[in-house]
């Protein structure tokens, strides 16, 4: 039964996930094509200098990409469950309800993490090819909270979409809109260094937020 459940989740998100993974790769490729072009026209030393001393973020274009992917996968996975209250079928399976929900969440989260890992690794490899260790590390520190924002958005979309009462959906969306910008503050390259671990812990904290609205859903909260 678990296999079937995993397959069901995969069916819901597969096309969006594949599209998002390809789109992310295209954006990373586009960024580094720009880097190559700048190196050809201005020289590598000028490109390095602009990053190191003028705070030029060559990778700024990907700031909201992980966030959009997280929201997209969350909607693709959880919205179909609210149509005709289909999620109630899941609750009728001979499984603990929380276990079924955690299974749903895990499938989406692992798919999302794998997509992010792919993007992160490709970015890392290309950055290592063009830039010295210092620039690559500072860049990775800068993009890490952007990926965390996508994960947080995915968890919060689950919370919002499965909430049965519109008034609370709006309030949750309001809470999410206050929380997600914490990951996206503008600053110097590498400025997020001290806060990345606390933000990762907060992301872990909200990973189970889905259980809250799902419980209200199955209780028939109106």
């Amino acid at each position: 039964m678990l296999k079937s459940m995993i397959y069901k989740e995969w069916l819901k998100i597969r096309w969006f996930l594949i599209g998002a993974a390809i789109l992310g790769l295209f954006i990373i490729a586009y960024m580094f094509m720009n880097v190559q072009r700048s190196i050809t026209f201005q020289g590598a030393n000028a490109v390095w200098y602009n990053i190191l001393f003028l705070n030029k973020m060559i990778f700024g274009i990907m700031k909201y990409v992980p966030l959009l992917i997280g929201i997209g996968i969350g909607v693709a996975q959880y919205f179909p469950e609210t149509v005709n209250k289909r999620i109630k079928l899941t609750f009728h399976l001979p499984l603990f309800e929380n276990r079924a929900l955690m299974m749903m969440l895990s499938v989406g989260m692992i798919c999302l993490l794998l997509t992010y890992l792919l993007h992160f690794m490709v970015f890392w490899m290309l950055s290592n090819y063009y830039f010295a260790h210092e620039i690559t590390v500072a860049s990775l520190i800068t993009i890490t909270p952007w990926f965390l924002s996508g994960l947080a958005a995915y968890f919060l979309v689950g919370l919002i979409v499965l909430e049965p009462v519109w008034k609370y959906r709006i309030l949750y969306a309001f809470a999410a809109a206050m929380f997600v910008p914490l990951y996206l503050k503008s600053g110097m390259i590498g400025a997020y260094g001290p806060i990345n671990i606390p933000l990762a812990l907060l992301t872990v904290l909200i990973s189970v937020s889905l259980l809250f609205s799902a419980y209200r859903f199955r209780k028939g909260e109106m």
């Binding site: 030393n45 390095w48 206050m178 806060i195 809250f212």
Partner: protein, 412 residues
């Protein structure tokens, strides 16, 4: 698990609200603190002050004598030399020194330090310019250096280490007793300067070295510093008079300079300057250095003569933001404020600012009562909401909003 998920959501909501609500409050109600502009007059040998109070601007000296704008400018002729030349009121000489604009400009300099300059991500890689290229313009080198276990030069085009240059510079540093890795590397990494003087580097044993490149060869000079002195910040300068290389701020809260060519470390006779929470501005002219330390609630201007001996000190304080009317209202509303950015730090982090006193307890009790009424109206069991009451009592408005955005109907 459902309770855990709810409390997790409450935690993140309290964190978000403690960032957003105080930010909105200050955005709406904060008033500027009127910090005056203070400069020492070489004409009257006293401080001149320009500021505003109750919407009215004033220009006066430290004795309270008021001036018009034109009079005020004439009291600070070296600062306003262009205006005085246009209005033909520039004196021929001051203190027996002829007012030659070229000489005046050569002696004039400005240096500014903010704590966020020091508390910021460091690039880790620096361009080593050719100091004696024989060219009028400085050129950006093809490589950048780092100082870890050795002084490595990385060719940007190939992203590979230039081993020959690395060995040359590493050997030169070792010869002078440099202890790897470097703790601090400070210079002026731009081609837009009058000439290149390389970098001042603090090694792992807190020794200070001057490192530059002359005709492709390393130039290294160790600066003699008193035992135990550790520098927190080095601000290199490129002033026209070429009297010194840099300002240095020690862990002893003193300000130093390193003189040009003879590498003499000189302490400025300025009282404690805290580089963690004070800004520093140093204006110099033909006769004086105005060393201005600016904190949240005071400014101190120390005037030095051209030999850097203390002449006079001006001190003015004002109320901190938390002590002003809008700060007092804030103290009744919020127990704390959480910021992601800090004016003294360029890193993004959670900066907690606890509100002084316990004025907020009144609102917390009111909110506790309100929450009690909400629970009673829902006819819920009070014992199921004890934790929520605790959250509201401790975190006030943040917690009250959070527990009602995510209501505890799980156990009712």
């Amino acid at each position: 698990m459902k309770n855990l998920s709810r409390y997790n959501l409450i935690v993140i909501s309290i964190i978000s609200l403690s960032v957003i609500l105080p930010w909105i409050y200050w955005l709406s109600f904060e008033k500027p603190i009127p910090k005056p502009f203070v400069m020492y007059s070489c004409v009257d040998d006293c401080f001149m002050i320009r500021g505003s109070e109750n919407g009215k601007s004033y220009r006066m000296n430290e004795h309270g004598e008021m001036f018009t704008r034109e009079e005020f400018e004439q009291k600070l002729p070296l600062l306003n030399i262009r205006q005085l030349m246009i209005s033909r009121t520039l004196p021929d000489s001051i203190k027996g020194v002829e007012m030659d604009p070229h000489v005046v400009n050569k002696a004039r300099s400005f240096y500014r330090y903010k704590p966020s300059t020091k508390n910021a991500p460091k690039p880790g890689l620096y361009p080593m310019f050719e100091s004696e290229s024989g060219r009028a313009k400085l050129e950006m080198p093809e490589d950048f250096f780092r100082i870890n276990s050795r002084m490595e030069f990385i060719d940007a085009d190939r992203n590979k280490i230039n081993e020959a240059k690395t060995a040359l510079f590493t050997g030169a540093l070792q010869h002078f007793g440099f202890k790897f890795p470097a703790k601090m590397i400070e210079g002026i990494p731009t081609t837009r300067k009058s000439c290149d003087e390389g970098y001042f580097v603090v090694d792992n044993a807190d020794q200070v070295f001057h490192v530059k490149m002359e005709q492709g060869q390393p130039y290294v000079q160790q600066v003699e510093i008193p035992k135990g002195l550790i520098f927190k910040h080095i601000g290199c300068v490129d002033f026209r008079n070429k009297l010194f290389y840099c300002y240095l701020i020690g862990h002893d809260h003193n300000i130093y300079i390193i003189t040009q060519d003879d590498y003499y470390l000189k302490r400025l006779p300025v009282d404690e300057f805290n580089p963690e929470n004070q800004q520093l501005r140093i204006y110099s002219d033909l006769f004086n250095y105005n060393v201005i330390a600016l904190a949240e609630d005071f400014m101190k201007v120390t005037v030095l003569d051209d030999n850097m001996e203390k002449v006079d000190v001006f001190y003015k304080s004002w109320k901190k933001r938390s002590e002003r009317p809008e700060g007092k209202v804030f103290s009744y509303l919020f127990p704390l404020q959480l910021n992601l950015v800090d004016e003294n730090n360029a890193f993004i982090n959670f900066y907690f600012h606890l509100t002084k006193g316990f004025n907020w307890i009144i609102l917390h009790i009111v909110l506790l009562g309100s929450h009690f009424l909400i629970i009673r109206k829902r006819k819920a069991k009070l014992k199921n909401h004890i934790v929520d009451f605790g959250i509201v009592l401790v975190s006030g408005l943040f917690g009250f909003l959070a527990v009602n955005i995510f209501p505890n109907k799980l156990n009712d």
